[in-house]
C-alpha cells in the first residue's frame, strides 16, 4: 500500500473530517483492506462494500467475542471491549448461547407496547428542550439539544431520579470525550456508568417502578433470570448504547438537513414522511461508523481475501451505506428513497436492540426541531465543523445554529 493516494489515511484527523473520500476509495479499490490500527499498531482489516459488510455481520465465523477469539497482538493492545470489568460479558460482546439468553431477557423489556409508552416521555423531553433552545436563540445542537434530549430520555426510561440526570450527562461526556486529550479519562467514565447502573439496580430492587430497570430486574424466562452482574452490565450497556448514539445521530441528521434544505422543507411540511426520513438519515450519515470489532474464529476467505483465524475485522457501516452498487445516487439525501435497507442499525445477531426506540426518538427529535424552527440556520462556518476522533462513533463536536424566527 505505498501508492500515492489522494485520500486521507484511515483514522487520521483529516479522515475524521471527511471519512467518505477514504472509504469510497477503499470500497472501489481494496474492499477488504489490510491496515494497522493506530492504537497498538495492530494488524487489522476494514470491509467497505455493502454486500460484504452485510455478509460478515450475518456470519457466525465473525465473532463479537474478542475476549475469546482475538489474537495476542489485539489482546495485548488492550482493544478487548470491557476487558476486566463486568462489561466483558455484556450483550454486545458475547456469542451464542450466552448472547441468545441475554438478548431474550433484554428484548422482553422492549415490547411494542412499552416502546409506545415511551413516546410520551420522548415528546415531553423534546418539547421542554425546544423551549429552552428557543429562549437561547442561538444554541448548540449537540450540547443544548441532542445531548439534553438523549440523556434525559434515557435517564427517565431507566428510572434515574431527575437530580442524577446531570451526573449521567457528565459521565457520558467522560466516556465519549470530544477532545482526544481526554482519552485517558474514558475508563473512569465507563466505571462511573457501571456504578450508576449498580446503584440503579439496587434501588429498583427495593422500590420497583414501571421503568426499564425494574422490568429488567424482574425479567425472567422460565427459571432463568439475569444475575446481579449481568443486570448491572445490561443497564450500563443500555446507557452506553442508547444515549450518545442518539445524540450523534440527531446531530448528523440536523446537519444533513441543513445541507439539503429542500429535504428539510419537505419533512417539516409533512410529518408523515418522518419514518422514511429517519431511515434515509440513518443511511446517509449514521451515528456508528462501524460495528464493534469482529474476530475470525477460523481462517475465512472474504471477497477473495484470506483472513487468518483470530483476525480483527472492522465492518464499515458508513461505507456500506454509501455503496453505489446498492443505493442509487448514494451521496444524496432523499427522504422518500424506496427500498432503503441500510445497515445504520447493524445487521445479524447483534442488530440494534433499541431500534424501535432509536427510530421513534430520532423522528420526534429531528422532525420536531425543523417544525419548531423552520428557518434554522448554521451559526458557524460550514468548513469548520469537526468530528470527535473515535473510530466507531461519528459525532459532531459542536453544531451551533440560529433559530431564525422567520415570519
Amino acid at each position: 500500500m505505498t501508492t500515492a493516494q489522494a485520500h486521507a489515511p484511515l483514522f487520521s484527523p483529516e479522515y475524521y473530517r471527511d471519512p467518505y473520500a477514504t472509504l469510497g476509495w477503499l470500497r472501489e479499490h481494496d474492499p477488504v483492506h489490510e491496515f494497522r490500527f493506530p492504537v497498538g499498531d495492530v494488524r487489522m482489516w476494514i470491509v467497505t462494500r455493502y454486500d460484504d459488510v452485510r455478509a460478515l455481520l450475518a456470519d457466525p465465523r465473525f465473532s463479537s467475542e474478542s475476549g475469546t477469539w482475538a489474537n495476542e497482538e489485539f489482546t495485548a493492545a488492550g482493544l478487548t471491549t470491557g476487558a476486566g470489568s463486568i462489561l466483558e460479558k455484556a450483550i454486545t460482546v458475547v456469542d451464542p448461547p450466552a448472547h441468545t439468553r441475554l438478548r431474550r431477557l433484554a428484548m422482553s423489556a422492549f415490547t411494542p407496547r412499552r416502546v409506545a409508552d415511551w413516546r410520551d416521555t420522548v415528546s415531553r423531553t423534546v418539547e421542554a428542550t425546544l423551549e429552552q433552545c428557543a429562549a437561547r436563540g442561538t444554541f448548540d445542537v449537540m450540547d443544548d439539544y441532542a445531548g439534553v434530549v438523549s440523556s434525559g430520555v434515557m435517564g427517565e426510561i431507566l428510572g434515574f431520579r431527575i437530580d442524577r440526570h446531570k451526573e449521567l450527562v457528565e459521565a457520558l461526556a467522560q466516556a465519549f470525550p470530544s477532545d482526544p486529550a481526554l482519552m485517558d479519562q474514558v475508563p473512569a467514565g465507563f466505571g462511573r456508568i457501571c456504578s450508576y447502573a449498580a446503584d440503579l439496580v439496587a434501588d429498583k430492587r427495593r422500590h420497583p417502578g414501571a421503568d426499564l430497570t425494574s422490568v429488567l430486574v424482574q425479567a425472567r424466562e422460565d427459571e432463568d433470570r439475569l444475575s446481579e452482574d449481568e443486570l448491572v452490565a445490561m443497564v450500563a450497556a443500555m446507557i452506553l448504547a442508547g444515549s450518545d448514539t442518539i445524540r450523534a445521530f440527531v446531530g448528523n441528521a440536523v446537519l444533513a438537513l441543513l445541507d439539503h434544505p429542500d429535504q428539510a422543507r419537505l419533512l417539516a411540511a409533512d410529518p408523515g414522511l418522518g419514518a422514511g426520513a429517519i431511515e434515509e438519515l440513518l443511511r446517509y450519515d449514521g451515528a456508528l461508523s462501524a460495528g464493534l470489532f469482529r474476530i475470525t474464529t477460523e481462517e475465512v476467505e472474504l471477497a477473495g481475501t484470506v483472513l487468518p483465524a483470530g483476525s480483527p475485522v472492522i465492518a464499515a457501516l458508513l461505507a456500506a451505506n454509501r455503496d453505489p452498487a446498492r443505493f442509487t445516487d448514494p451521496d444524496r439525501v432523499d427522504i422518500t428513497r424506496p427500498d432503503n435497507r441500510h445497515l445504520g442499525l447493524g445487521h445479524g445477531l447483534h442488530n440494534c436492540l433499541g431500534a424501535a426506540l432509536a427510530r421513534m426518538e430520532g423522528d420526534i427529535a429531528v422532525g420536531g426541531l425543523f417544525r419548531r424552527f423552520p428557518h434554522l440556520e448554521l451559526a458557524m462556518d460550514r468548513d469548520e465543523i469537526g468530528y470527535i476522533e473515535n473510530w466507531a462513533m461519528r459525532r459532531i463536536v459542536r453544531l451551533p445554529v440560529r433559530a431564525a424566527a422567520g415570519a
Binding site: 452485510r54 450475518a58 456470519d59 441468545t100 428484548m107 445479524g348 431500534a355
Partner: protein
C-alpha cells in the same frame, strides 16, 4: 405430524438477518436478510424451542410460533 409452526409478519419484519443468523435451518439463508419463507413447519420439539428463542430475540416482534399440543389432539 409436526410439533408446531411459525409465521413471519412481513409488515413488521425489517430484514435484520437475525433469525437466519440464529437458525438458518428454519429461516433460510437469503442474501437480503429477510427470512426465506413467511411460514414454516416445526418438525420436532427442539425446533419449536429454537423458533421460540428466535421470536424472542427478533427486534420487531415479527415472528409468531404456534405449538401443536399433542395431548389435546
Amino acid at each position: 405430524m409436526s410439533s408446531g409452526s411459525f409465521s413471519v409478519d412481513r409488515e413488521l419484519c425489517r430484514g435484520t438477518g437475525l433469525c437466519q443468523a440464529m437458525v438458518p435451518a428454519l429461516f433460510g439463508r437469503t442474501d437480503s436478510g429477510y427470512p426465506a419463507a413467511d411460514t414454516g413447519e416445526l418438525a420436532d420439539e427442539r425446533s419449536v424451542v429454537l423458533a421460540d428463542e428466535v421470536a424472542e430475540c427478533c427486534p420487531t416482534g415479527a415472528i409468531e410460533v404456534f405449538r401443536h399440543d399433542p395431548v389435546h389432539e
